[in-house]
């Protein structure tokens, strides 16, 4: 048994608890511990990625209780990729936050660590009930982070966010209960074995459960018509927290990819490809609505939020084709859109800090400090998120357009993806020119032009550097992701790795 598998969960959990108890009043200690833990997490995630690259599926049975009776963690290529993505984004966001955001409220660092723990757990777990538990951990931490720093508007947006997710959790439990009542298992690999054998009389219950589960993941992934919580939440959350939330929508996408390929995939008999007919229209409508929202946004934060919705639509519509090529392309786009959205939220926060009363609203305002540098960064991030050449968004879109060619709905994909790209470009050009260029035309006295610290720029630069790296190494990365998709579509190895541990046990 390889103990490295549990480190991404254990490390933030221990450090988080330590921070609550020992470093509550000492900001330097809290920052040092939090940063050290996140750097270590990054190292662990890299190790796991290298381990998973050999194509085998590793499992970790907690307390050595064999699956499907005990709890297992499973590491395959997809899980390793998502854990690494989380670690990289987490590290950048933390670098940004320790410049002052972390002191605007209490307990930023413990909450941050628990958030990382919950996200890692959701990526690594091998059964449903633990997926629920880790969802709750990441949500509870996010409730705290969302209202970090306080303020009436933020707390109200936070109440909406909490209520939406509590309803989601209830539906999650009902879905888990339905699936358990039919199959008698909560283990994903065991479920994949049992689903094809479910008698016709129980199919209705099973499929209801599975579609309800899709509903829950769709709330997390902000699919239309369950996206209403996202713009209010992300635009009102503290900047670095919104940037970290860029990966939270991807937790929903990850769960959809994992579950509906593994348990409700080609082998599932009457329940085969259960998610596809729902995901395709929902994804395409989400894409259109998100990108149109970019055009209608009233602030940079809202603009980034709607761009997140649009990119989730594109991602999940591509997933709904359920072929290895499409999933490979979707995964590439997933990495790209996480970094691009994260960078946009951080830049919006930097702008809001410098503009005074206008914050990041799309209204005319006098010039502000470091406007040139920020305009440059915004330009790069906007190129990334709208999918213009030369950055990775363009490559991601090309891969998606190529990946869905075999689909019966390819015309829809091509038309909508290309036309929404244009809408997004118009939206971001409008926002950028209003905030950065037209400020020269305003004669009102400008806000005091004091330069900020360098650390936030290092963080934003780091995220943008990830985009550039993703562009430069697009070939090898996409090759690796295609292998990941192929591994997903051959679930036998996953099932044997998880349930095989049952035979090894005493």
């Amino acid at each position: 048994m390889n103990h490295a598998l549990i480190l991404p969960i254990l490390l933030p959990a221990i450090v988080g608890a330590l921070l609550v108890m020992a470093a509550r009043y000492d900001k330097v200690l809290a920052r040092v511990f939090s940063l050290a833990s996140t750097v270590l997490l990054f190292g662990v995630a890299l190790t796991l990625l290298v381990m998973a690259s050999d194509g085998s599926v590793r499992t970790y049975a907690l307390g050595a209780w064999p699956a499907p009776f005990g709890i297992v963690l499973v590491l395959d290529r997809l899980a390793a990729l998502m854990v690494l993505l989380n670690a990289v984004l987490g590290l950048s966001v933390l670098l940004y936050a320790i410049n002052g955001w972390d002191l605007r409220g209490k307990h930023f660092h413990p909450l941050f660590q628990f958030q990382l723990m919950g996200i890692n757990g959701a990526f690594l777990t091998g059964d449903f009930f633990n997926l629920f538990v880790f969802f709750e951990i990441l949500l509870i931490a996010s409730y705290g982070l969302m209202v970090h720093g306080g303020g009436g508007l933020r707390v109200k947006a936070g109440v909406q966010y909490v209520v939406t997710n509590l309803v989601g959790s209830s539906v999650f439990l009902i879905a888990v209960g339905l699936i358990y009542s039919v199959t008698g298992t909560l283990n994903m690999a065991d479920l994949a074995v049992i689903v094809p054998r479910v008698p016709a009389a129980d199919q209705a219950l099973l499929q209801t459960g599975a579609v309800l589960l899709l509903l829950v993941f769709a709330i997390k992934a902000a699919l239309v018509p369950l996206h209403f919580w996202l713009p209010g939440t992300y635009a009102n959350a503290p900047g670095p927290v919104a940037a970290l939330f860029a990966i939270m929508t991807k937790v929903g996408a990850y769960s959809i990819i994992r579950l509906y390929v593994l348990a409700f995939g080609a082998e599932a008999g009457p329940a085969a490809w259960l998610a596809a007919p729902w995901l395709l229209p929902a994804g395409l409508v989400t894409l259109v609505l998100g990108m149109t929202g970019v055009l209608a946004a009233r602030s940079l934060g809202q603009m980034a939020s709607f761009a997140v919705i649009g990119s989730m639509g594109m991602l999940l519509a591509t997933v709904s084709v359920f072929t290895p090529q499409a999933i490979g392309a979707a995964l590439y786009y997933l990495i790209h859109s996480t970094f691009a959205a994260g960078a946009l939220f951080l830049i919006a926060d930097l702008v809001a800090e410098r503009r005074g009363v206008q914050r990041d609203r799309l209204v005319l305002a006098p010039r502000f400090a470091q406007a040139g540098l920020l305009a440059g960064l915004f330009f790069v991030a906007a190129i990334g998120i709208t999918g213009m050449p030369p950055l990775s968004g363009f490559i991601g879109k090309l891969l998606i357009l190529d990946g869905v060619r075999a689909s019966a709905h390819a015309t829809w994909f091509w038309t909508l993806i290309l036309s929404t790209s244009l809408i997004a470009i118009v939206g971001f050009s409008r926002g950028g020119s209003l905030v950065f260029w037209k400020s020269h035309a305003v004669n009102a006295p400008s806000a005091p032009l004091h330069r900020g610290a360098a650390l936030p720029f290092v963080a934003v630069g780091g995220v943008l550097a990830c985009l550039v790296t993703l562009t430069v190494f697009a070939g090898p990365v996409h090759g690796w992701l295609e292998l990941t998709a192929t591994q997903l579509f051959a679930p036998t190895a996953y099932i044997e790795a998880v349930l095989g541990t049952a035979q090894e046990g005493p």
């Binding site: 707390v155 109200k156 936070g158 109440v159 209830s170 009902i174 209960g177 339905l178 358990y180």
Partner: protein, 137 residues
């Protein structure tokens, strides 16, 4: 028994959903509680309804009820209890900071929200007292 449990779950879910869609935070929180009660009862029922059965396999074998849903319900109860506390605190904080208990954000709230605003009302009352005091003097 099946009918009783099923209709209880149904009625509580329906009432919970109705209340969650209300405009003020208090009914929303009550609705959430009802929804979690319904969920817990539902989870409990997924282990099949049986009376006077132990949740473990006895020494003599024989029949037993599935213990796993009971464990799941226990976890779900703990989580929902904690979350109700969190949402109550956040709703209270929102009420105190923005002056009304409407769920909508101030930007797109109904005009009703500002009528209910206790801060504004307090200010109006203060103005009224000042005026009344002024006229007396």
């Amino acid at each position: 028994m099946e009918f009783l449990v099923a209709s209880a779950i149904g009625v509580m879910t329906a009432a919970g959903l109705y209340l969650v869609l209300r405009a003020r935070t208090f009914p929303v929180i009550i609705g959430l509680s009802l929804l979690t009660y319904a969920t817990n009862l539902f989870l409990f029922a997924t282990g099949r309804l049986a009376i006077n059965q132990p949740p473990v396999i006895g020494a003599t074998g024989g029949s037993y009820v599935d213990p796993l849903p009971q464990a799941l319900v226990l976890t779900a109860i703990v989580i929902s209890f904690g979350m109700t506390a969190v949402v109550v605190v956040m709703a209270l904080r929102g009420y105190l900071e923005t002056g009304n208990d409407h769920v909508d954000l101030p930007g797109d709230a109904s005009p009703e929200a500002s009528e209910d605003d206790w801060k504004l009302r307090g200010r109006k009352q203060a103005d009224a007292t000042v005026k009344a005091g002024g006229s007396k003097a």
